[in-house]
Structure formats: structure tokens, C-alpha cells
């Protein structure tokens, strides 16, 4: 086990950011923390990377206790923080050079490694340019390169693609996949993009308000729901769910006031029936869509809320229209 966490709690004053979480990560595994902003993901990363002390509980990283032996933990981990942590006034090469020296690499090895990691993230030709002139995606790539420079056993990535455009995001995913496949490094990442968790992670913990509410492989998690989901947007806040009584409906939930999510075995067959029913009940339908379950639906199923900024789903479109009004 590369990471073992037991009953970890972090309190800031009266606010409990992490409320007693437990999990473990195997060597070579990519483990994801999926949850909305403020769920306690970054706090957990800060504790695991030794720069924040937990209020109670225990965390073992690379075989060492993060509170009692932070120095040993630090030697075995690489970290990409959510906010940039590069020195803007230095070049990409200099940033890596300083990092290598801080981690005690000797000059010959360091030069080789710098060239290697820079080529890996395709930044070698920009190595002598000031980081100031780098784009957001280039900075993130440089940070990934830097975190890999000292060949860590475990790599921590806090929201690795936050704020990047879709193409760059796919690019970064590719690097992360290659790190896992070619270098066998254990990866712990946090994200609130469910596609990211689905594509990259062997196992995902869904975290909400400081608690892990579900844990398993993406497939296992999706099987919690298992079936198609129909989204119906109705005219006003009528409690549609209580009125709907059609065979084959497994669950019905109201989200965002006027949108309801209905779980069925087969959406294509259920939609006409639901529409007929609503028409009879004189409920005006504004919009209907359906989709196969994703981790986002698992999250909605478990919490009744949506992971914010999840990108491109029906609910987001609804929300955007609300904003436009």
C-alpha cells in the first residue's frame, strides 16, 4: 500500500473540512478524489503532502507517517498543486534545476533528467524561455515535469486540468496515462471533472462535504445507478415526482427546482409514456433529454446535488439559461 488513511479529520476553527475519511491506495494505482469545490479535496492533498497537519487521524504515505516523518514522505512524493507554484521570473530549465537541487540530485544525473522530463512534456524547445511567457497549459506541463524530475514513487495531482481548454486537457490526460503505464508511478489525483476521473482512475472516491460517500472503480460506482436517466424540465415547481406513477420507474428526484431526473431501464421506451402522462396531468414540459449514467449521475443520486462546472451536461445548459435570464 502506498497510501493508507485512517479516520482523517481536519478542522479549521469550527469548520470541519475533512470529517474522518479512510481509504488506501495500492502501488501503481491511479486513485481519484471526485467531488465539488469545497468538498475537502485540497485539504486532504495538503495533509498527505505534509504541508498541513491533520487535527486527528492517521495518514501513511510511502510507508511513513505524514506527521511524524514528513521528511521521509517528502523524498518519495511529487506534487502538482492546484494553484501554480512556478517561479515566473525564471526559465523552465531553471525552475527544474532548482527543484532538482532541492531534492539533492547531482549535476550529471540532474541534467539528464531535466532533458528527459522536458522532452516527455514536449517543452524541451522552450526550456530557456521565461515561465512568464508560457501559456496555462505549458505551465501545467512544466509542473508535471517538475513533479516527476526526482522520480517519485507517488505523484499527487490537485485538479490537474482546472482552467485549461478542452484540447489541452486531453493532452494532459495523455501524459498522466503515460506516466501510469510507462513509469508505473502511483497517482493520487483530485478533480471535479467526472470524465477525468472516469478516464484516468482505477478507483474513485466520491467526496462531498468532507466525507467519502462512495468508493470503487468507475464501473462499480456507475452500477449503483445502473440504468438510463431521463431529465425533464417542467414549467414550474410542481412536485412531479409524487404524481408520476408509471411502471418501470426506478427513482425520481427533483433537482434545480424545475428539473426532474427519472431513472428507468430503457429511456427510449419510457419517454413517450412519461410525456403522455404529464400531458394528461396538464403539466407543461419545456425540455426532455436522457443519458446513460455517468459518475456525475452517481453523485446526484447520492447527494441530490450536482458537481459544479461539470461541463456540457443537460443541467449545465439549464443553469446557463438561468444565468442568461
Amino acid at each position: 500500500m502506498d497510501i493508507v488513511v485512517e479516520n482523517l479529520v481536519k478542522r479549521y476553527g469550527n469548520v470541519e473540512a475533512v470529517k474522518g475519511i479512510s481509504f488506501s491506495v495500492k502501488h501503481g494505482e491511479t486513485f481519484g478524489f471526485l467531488g465539488p469545490n469545497g468538498a475537502g479535496k485540497t485539504t486532504t492533498i495538503y495533509i498527505l503532502t505534509t504541508i498541513l497537519k491533520p487535527t486527528s487521524g492517521r495518514a501513511i504515505v510511502a510507508g511513513y507517517d505524514v506527521v511524524r516523518e514528513p521528511h521521509n514522505v517528502r523524498r518519495h512524493i511529487g506534487v502538482v498543486f492546484q494553484d501554480p507554484s512556478l517561479d515566473d521570473n525564471l526559465t523552465g530549465y531553471e525552475n527544474l534545476y532548482i527543484h532538482g537541487k532541492l531534492y539533492g540530485l547531482n549535476n550529471t544525473l540532474l541534467k539528464e533528467r531535466i532533458a528527459e522530463v522536458l522532452k516527455f512534456v514536449e517543452l524541451y524547445e522552450f526550456k530557456d524561455k521565461c515561465v512568464k511567457s508560457y501559456s496555462g497549459g505549458m505551465r501545467r506541463r512544466l509542473e508535471i515535469a517538475r513533479a516527476m524530475l526526482h522520480v517519485p514513487r507517488i505523484l499527487f495531482l490537485d485538479e490537474p486540468t482546472l482552467g485549461l481548454d478542452p484540447q489541452t486537457r486531453i493532452h494532459i490526460w495523455d501524459y498522466i496515462k503515460r506516466l501510469k503505464d510507462e513509469h508505473g508511478v502511483t497517482i493520487f489525483l483530485t478533480t471535479h471533472y467526472m470524465e477525468e476521473a472516469e478516464i484516468l482512475c482505477n478507483r474513485v472516491a466520491i467526496i462531498d462535504r468532507g466525507k467519502i460517500i462512495a468508493l470503487g472503480s468507475p464501473d462499480e460506482l456507475k452500477s449503483i445507478i445502473g440504468n438510463d436517466i431521463i431529465y425533464v424540465r417542467v414549467d414550474n415547481n410542481i412536485d412531479v415526482c409524487s404524481k408520476l406513477s408509471i411502471d418501470g420507474i426506478q427513482s425520481c428526484k427533483t433537482i434545480d427546482g424545475e428539473t426532474i431526473a427519472i431513472q428507468v431501464r430503457k429511456a427510449s421506451e419510457a419517454i413517450p409514456e412519461i410525456l403522455r402522462y404529464l400531458e394528461k396531468a396538464e403539466i407543461k414540459v419545456k425540455e426532455v433529454s436522457y443519458r446513460r449514467p455517468s459518475l456525475n449521475d452517481v453523485f446526484i443520486h447520492l447527494t441530490g446535488r450536482e458537481i459544479r462546472d461539470s461541463g456540457g451536461g443537460f443541467i449545465d445548459i439549464v443553469r446557463m439559461r438561468h444565468r442568461v435570464r
Binding site: D88, N89, L90, K101, L102
Partner: protein, 262 residues
């Protein structure tokens, strides 16, 4: 292990060289002070009274050691702000997760910033050598050592204060509040011996006053303080400076160890 200290010195120096506008601004500021303030007063304060006041020195020769010292003080004290920039721009986290003692990284940073402010002082001093012939060039090695120590002490003071703060504005406010009285009272611009007694007492509390007098002693051969206070010999001044700087360095290390990411 020591590598991590050297690399932080390297980083601070690299950053200084990279910031070309800062270098140019520094040199320009120095020239303005020397020419408009120094030369202006040097032409005003002439004749037998001034000569008695400055013990036979011309005003520029009196002023230069003082300005050399206060410019080191100001640059190094302000240098602590880089800790706050690193907090804001995130580089601090990179240092905090590195497997190296924080005492070494912060010491490296203090030494790097101290070197930068001594270089700043040197630029000013080299201008001074062109303007007056009273300065003793043989004193250069010793005043560099003293200057470096002064710089280390005040850089540490800046780092200690910056470690507790989040915003550069707050830090600038504190630096501004402390810098002006310390500079004015240091005896750099006028001899303290004729100032009111309470002002002399206030000046003696500030370590910069000793530094100015000590460096003046080495550059022009006269200690203005020891003629008023017999016990303030250059040796005692040096001892006081070393003690104060070492204490400030330790405080800076302790404060930096305690600094956290929000």
C-alpha cells in the same frame, strides 16, 4: 544538504539579474540621491563651521558611508517582501514540500537577498569614489563584510515580518513606518552629536546607527559616536551588530518554520 542553501542563493541572484527594471531603478535612485542631495548639501555646507562640524571632512565624504549603509538597510529590509510574493505566486509551496530543512532554504534566501542589497550599496559607493577623494579604498574588504552582516540582519528582519503576513500592502506599510525614522535617526545625513538628547537616545536604540558609524569609521577614519559616548568604540559597535544580526537570523528561521499555506 547545503546544496539546498546554495540553490536558494542562486535563485535570489538570478531573480535579481532577471528583473532589469529593478536594477536600473536602483542605480538611478542612487545617482539621484548622491547628486541632488549629496552634492547640493556639499556645496551648501562649506567654510570653517561646516569643517568643524564634520571634523575636517567635506559633506560628501561624511554622507557617503552613511548612504552606503542606509541603502543596504532599505534594500535588505524590503527584500523580505519576496517571501510574500512567493506565498502569493505559489513558489513557497514548492519549497515547503521539498525534502530539505526549512532553516537552510530560508538562510539561502536571506544570504541571496543580502548579497543583492550589498551590490546595490556598492554601486552607490563606486559613484562616491568618483566624487570625493576622502574615502579609503583599502577599507573595501572590511566594509563589504560589515555591509553583508548588516544586510543579513535586516533581510532576516524583513523575512520574519513577512512570514507572518499575507498581503504585500501590509508589509510595505510596516516597512515604510520603520524605514524612515530608522534612516533619519541613523546619523547618516547629519552628525547626531548636536541633536537633542532624547533624539540621540532614540538613535542609540536602533542598530542601524552603529552600522553607519562603524562603516564611516572604516571608510573615512572617524567615529562620530565614540567621541560622544566613549564606550561606543568601533569594536563594541561591531560586536553589537554581530549579536543583533545573529539574533535576527534565528528569529527569521523560527518565524519561517511556522509559516503555513492558508
Amino acid at each position: 544538504m547545503m546544496e539546498s542553501m546554495y540553490i536558494m542563493i542562486y535563485r535570489q541572484l538570478k531573480r535579481f539579474i532577471r528583473a532589469k527594471s529593478r536594477v536600473v531603478g536602483m542605480i538611478l535612485n542612487n545617482i539621484l540621491w548622491l547628486v541632488f542631495f549629496g552634492l547640493g548639501w556639499a556645496y551648501t555646507l562649506r567654510g570653517p563651521i561646516a569643517s568643524a562640524l564634520f571634523r575636517g571632512l567635506d559633506y560628501l565624504a561624511f554622507l557617503l558611508p552613511g548612504i552606503f549603509t542606509t541603502s543596504i538597510f532599505q534594500a535588505s529590509f524590503m527584500g523580505g517582501i519576496s517571501v510574500i510574493w512567493d506565498k502569493q505566486f505559489g513558489f513557497l509551496k514548492e519549497v515547503l514540500v521539498a525534502p530539505t530543512p526549512r532553516s537552510l532554504t530560508i538562510l539561502g534566501r536571506a544570504i541571496g537577498d543580502a548579497l543583492v542589497s550589498v551590490v546595490n550599496g556598492l554601486i552607490m559607493l563606486s559613484l562616491g569614489f568618483m566624487l570625493t577623494s576622502h574615502l579609503n579604498p583599502l577599507a573595501l574588504p572590511i566594509i563589504l563584510v560589515i555591509g553583508l552582516m548588516v544586510a543579513l540582519g535586516f533581510t532576516s528582519m524583513g523575512i520574519a515580518i513577512a512570514s507572518t503576513m499575507r498581503s504585500p500592502e501590509g508589509f510595505q506599510l510596516i516597512v515604510g513606518l520603520l524605514t524612515l525614522p530608522t534612516t533619519l535617526l541613523s546619523g547618516a545625513m547629519f552628525p547626531l552629536s548636536n541633536a537633542p538628547y532624547w533624539m540621540q537616545l532614540a538613535a542609540l536604540v536602533l542598530p542601524l546607527t552603529y552600522a553607519v558609524d562603524l562603516i564611516r569609521f572604516h571608510l573615512v577614519g572617524i567615529s562620530f559616536l565614540s567621541s560622544v559616548y566613549w564606550w561606543l568604540t568601533p569594536e563594541i559597535e561591531l560586536l553589537l551588530l554581530v549579536i543583533i544580526s545573529v539574533i535576527l537570523i534565528f528569529i527569521a528561521i523560527e518565524m519561517f518554520k511556522r509559516t503555513t499555506i492558508e
